[in-house]
């Protein structure tokens, strides 16, 4: 338990030494000024450090232990990147600087764009989207603008499998489009006949994660993308699972027309407790005219930042994207090169298949009809019948010193446990995790209360989410002296 920062406050304390005012004062008119104090805490630097360091010790993190969070690609984040992104000449640059005065940054952005196009098999790119969901939005707008120009603005349906990430349908709504859900077959792949029956003259796009959210490669991918193209729609790939495909297969070669990449997953930017990420979007050359502002072009006079042009979708952010994240992705690709990137995916696949094989005698793995890609989904449905839910298993893993997998997603699997080891875990740590999972399965049989009472070795015991909603408390109550 750590007090809130407000409870350390005492009038007059300050945590940063500011320069003295060295110009004459100008009166701030009374009627414009604040009537009462803001209510910010007043502490010294030492008190602030102690507070935030204490808080930090209550966080699990990838540099502490294994984080098998499916679809989130929690891999190690190289420390070199933090040094690079903080170089003064990169960090202290105003976004409205003239192009000639930011040639270094524009060169990185341009080269990164080329790398990512090569990796995905596309020709055009925008680095502006702040996160995967904003990349999806940009991708759907690209498709929509292209269709509108061809007089096909009536296409207002986005097809997606029932296993899609929640952001896919939410993004479709934001883009003013209707969601049409496509069934999964008994192996967890897109039901091709259901897709065929739903694709038609209203089809704007098909959104697909590949490998899908079950960690399964869509083996019928060419047939799938062909069905959509024949119906006049375009194919969008949610690149959340790109960690499975580096140097192995490219979305552009599978019949996709657009895809977003989560640079904070596959390309190793740290997740920062929820962000920042980057949702770079790569696409075919035909969609280039519709890209948002802030694309970089190489000219004889150097690199130029292009603002939104006539056909552009406009602007997703005020400025040019999460540039600091772009530096890290550039450094990651430069460190690994083509062989190193291929190795990332190869080992991610080996690690996931190894875990699946070891866990299968203890946990059901539905839809298992061959090798998985970089992740797989197990089910706790059998244990749930005996009173130990997937949520309990997740909490018990915390006691064993591991982060939990992604749970209850995808929704097509009951009591789902979505497990992604990534390539940066050693055989030893994977074995230790599997051993813990096996021990929990045994506990569930013999001493289920150990699981249902979990966690007990964490900074707090299981938290009451219902109370949080019922007795809503979102801010510290104001207490003026």
């Amino acid at each position: 338990m750590e007090k809130t920062i407000f409870q350390y406050s005492s009038p007059g304390r300050i945590g940063v030494a500011l320069p003295a005012l060295d110009v004459p004062e100008t009166v701030i008119p009374d009627q414009l000024g604040r009537n009462e104090p803001i209510g910010l805490p007043e502490v010294t630097e030492g008190q602030a450090m102690r507070h935030f360091v204490r808080l930090s010790t209550m966080n699990f993190n990838i540099e502490q232990g294994f984080y098998p969070l499916g679809s989130c690609t929690m891999k190690y984040n190289p420390r070199l990147h933090e040094f690079l992104a903080r170089i003064e000449g990169l960090a202290a640059v105003h976004p409205l600087s003239s192009d000639s005065s930011v040639q270094g940054t524009l060169e990185i952005m341009h080269k990164l764009g080329e790398f990512l196009c090569e990796i995905t098999g596309f020709e055009a790119v925008t680095l502006q989207p702040a996160a995967g969901a904003q990349g999806e939005f940009a991708g759907l707008l690209l498709i929509r603008k292209w269709q509108q120009e061809r007089g096909e603005g009536h296409r207002n349906e986005v097809l997606m499998p029932d296993s899609a990430h929640g952001t896919n349908p939410a993004t479709s709504t934001l883009a003013g489009l209707k969601v049409v859900s496509v069934k999964s077959d008994e192996h967890g792949r897109v039901d091709v006949e259901d897709l065929r029956s739903k694709a038609g003259e209203k089809t704007c796009a098909f959104m697909l994660t590949n490998p899908n959210t079950l960690g399964i490669f869509e083996s019928n991918i060419e047939e799938i993308t062909g069905i959509i193209h024949d119906a006049g729609g375009l194919n969008y790939m949610d690149g959340a699972n790109m960690n499975a495909l580096l140097g192995i297969a490219r979305p552009g070669d599978m019949g996709f027309d657009v895809c977003h990449l989560n640079l904070h997953k596959t390309f190793s930017s740290p997740h920062g407790g929820g962000g920042p990420g980057s949702g770079t979007v790569c696409c075919r050359d035909t969609l280039r005219p519709f890209l948002p502002a802030s694309t970089v072009v190489k000219t004889e006079d150097g690199y130029m930042l292009r603002d939104r042009t006539g056909k552009s979708m406009g602007r997703l952010l005020a400025f040019h994207g999460n540039v600091g994240v772009l530096y890290r992705a550039y450094a990651y690709i430069r460190t690994l090169g083509s062989k190193g990137l291929r190795e990332v995916s190869e080992v991610a696949l080996i690690n996931a298949n190894y875990m699946k094989t070891r866990l299968k005698p203890y946990y059901e793995v539905p839809n298992d009809d061959g090798p998985c890609m970089h992740e797989f989904v197990a089910s706790g449905a059998e244990m749930a019948k005996k009173g130990v839910k997937t949520l309990d298993i997740a909490k018990r893993l915390l006691d064993y010193g591991f982060h939990a997998p992604t749970i209850y997603f995808p929704q097509i699997v009951k009591e789902a446990l979505m497990i992604e080891p990534t390539e940066t875990e050693s055989l030893e740590s994977i074995d230790a995790f599997v051993d813990a999972m096996i021990a929990i399965a045994e506990e569930a049989e013999e001493k289920p209360h150990l699981v249902t009472d979990a966690p007990v070795n964490t900074p707090v015991l299981r938290l009451d989410e219902v109370k949080a909603v019922k007795d809503l408390c979102l801010v510290e109550p104001v207490e003026y002296e």
Binding site: L80, I119, A130, T167, S219, E222, R342, N353, L472
Partner: protein, 448 residues
């Protein structure tokens, strides 16, 4: 074997044996041969850590903008960033944690967000805040959508004195839906024309979007705008500069229903446009229409205080197509930078920063007006940014000032060839301000 992959030949062979496939290629059977990449990706050869450091220093050296003394703002400000911020941000525990889905091992992130929500709500004068948005501009667009949901009206009014970049983002977010955006002109004083807004609001609108201080630095009458739009049963969305709120009355206290803004000025590097962070605060009544993550206080099984993500039934992972927004990953680490900044500066320091910005920008303004034929474009109170008209082209003046080491203000050609918008933060010394004024004066004399 790369430095990031611990499983080498020995381990991989053992694992493949356990899997029962013998060779790695056998794991690729689900991937049809026809879509597999033939050959290798065409990428540069791998670089060592030392080589990358040199390469990046080369890139940095080609960013001459970083060496200029900055008088440019337009939504991004060159403030001092206390050293302790990065120290905390780069701690593994904050830096390499995922979204706090497992609350029991994420109390550090969750409590810091709770403190962030508290500080943002106090700064904006609103009852509640969310855990953050991508940036200030996308936060404004999301606020407009939130108003549309709350009021079930498809039209919003946007002041023409809102940043043109923000207006672009509102269009990008709203144009694909069945929504209408009407721009309210600003008067010769640079402030929103409330009479025009009144007429445009007839027939019902979801919201009026106002910037405070506005794009030109002028201080809008938030209370009057609130009274007007409430009369039409719409919401007032205010895009506020957080540092200005260190001296100006909080918009929430002046009738604003949703207050959003760009958090960059609170401890986040300019970094050529990002990562930044948007904040969003509102009245309790509109909480359930709000996008983004929200942290709430609760108790554990033993009755100890703890924090969790709450009101999640608004969000995409539960509500899918009916979610209040598609946002998932946000800019959490930058929100943490904000909360550490507001803690270190505190009540005294933060208001001092705001006051220094006020005094120094007014000092620059007065000094510039001493130059012959330099005049204010608008004759209303400004906060920390202002527009002057130069007797020369603002564009060419910017180029000339860069040659002598200054990033001059932003040219605003829409207000005239000589129009330049300038800002001064607490980082600028009187010597730097005087030096800039003198250099600009000399340039103007020479150019005429």
């Amino acid at each position: 074997m790369s430095i990031f992959v611990p499983n080498g030949k020995t381990q991989r062979e053992r694992m493949l044996e356990v899997i029962g496939v013998g060779r790695f290629e056998n794991l690729l059977t689900p991937v049809p041969e026809s879509v597999r990449l033939k050959g290798e990706l065409d990428l540069p050869s791998p670089a060592s850590e030392l080589e990358l450091q040199k390469e990046f220093k080369g890139f940095a050296a080609r960013n001459s903008s970083a060496d200029l003394v900055c008088f440019r703002g337009a939504g991004v400000y060159d403030h001092y960033i206390p050293a302790a911020i990065d120290n905390i941000l780069t701690r593994s525990e904050f830096f390499t944690a995922y979204t706090p889905y497992q609350a029991e091992v994420s109390q550090g992130t969750l409590q810091s967000i709770f403190e962030y929500q508290t500080m943002i709500s106090r700064l904006t004068g609103c009852e509640a805040a969310n855990a953050c948005m991508y940036d200030g501009a996308s936060a404004v667009a999301e606020a407009a959508l939130m108003a549309i949901r709350s009021k079930r009206k498809n039209r919003v009014l946007v002041s023409g004195a809102v940043s043109p970049r923000t207006i672009d983002v509102i269009h990008t977010y709203l144009d694909s839906g069945d929504f209408e955006i009407n721009e309210v002109p600003f008067g010769t004083d640079g402030l929103i024309d409330l009479e025009a807004a009144d007429k445009l609001a007839e027939g019902g609108v979801a919201a009026l979007v106002l910037q405070y201080p506005n794009y030109f630095g002028s201080i809008e009458d938030v209370q009057a705008a609130a009274d007007l739009i409430h009369k039409h049963n719409g919401l007032l969305v205010v895009a506020a500069d957080p540092v200005a709120l260190g001296v100006l009355e909080a918009p929430g206290k002046l009738g604003a229903d949703v207050v959003v803004g760009e958090g960059q000025p609170m401890g986040v590097a300019m970094s050529y446009g990002g990562p930044y962070v948007g904040f969003m605060a509102t009245k309790s009544a509109f909480l359930r229409k709000m996008p983004g993550r929200i942290v709430g206080r609760t108790e554990d099984r033993a009755g100890n205080t703890g924090y969790v993500l709450t009101l999640q039934t608004r969000e995409q992972h539960i509500k899918r197509a009916k979610a209040t927004s598609n946002i998932c990953s946000n800019q959490a680490l930058m929100a943490l930078a904000n909360v550490i900044y507001l803690t270190l500066a505190g009540e005294t320091g933060f208001t001092e920063v705001a006051k220094q910005c006020w005094h120094k920008s007014h000092y620059l303004n007065k000094r510039l007006l001493e130059i012959d034929d330099v005049a204010d474009v608008f004759d209303v109170p400004f906060c920390r940014e202002f527009v002057v008209n130069l007797p020369v082209s603002a564009e060419t003046a910017v180029t000339a000032m860069a040659e002598v080491g200054y990033l001059a203000g932003l040219p605003l050609p829409g207000l005239g060839e000589g129009a330049m918008m300038l800002t001064v933060t607490e980082k600028r010394t009187r010597e730097e301000i005087d030096g800039f004024v003198e250099a600009l004066h000399q340039y103007i004399k020479g150019a005429r």
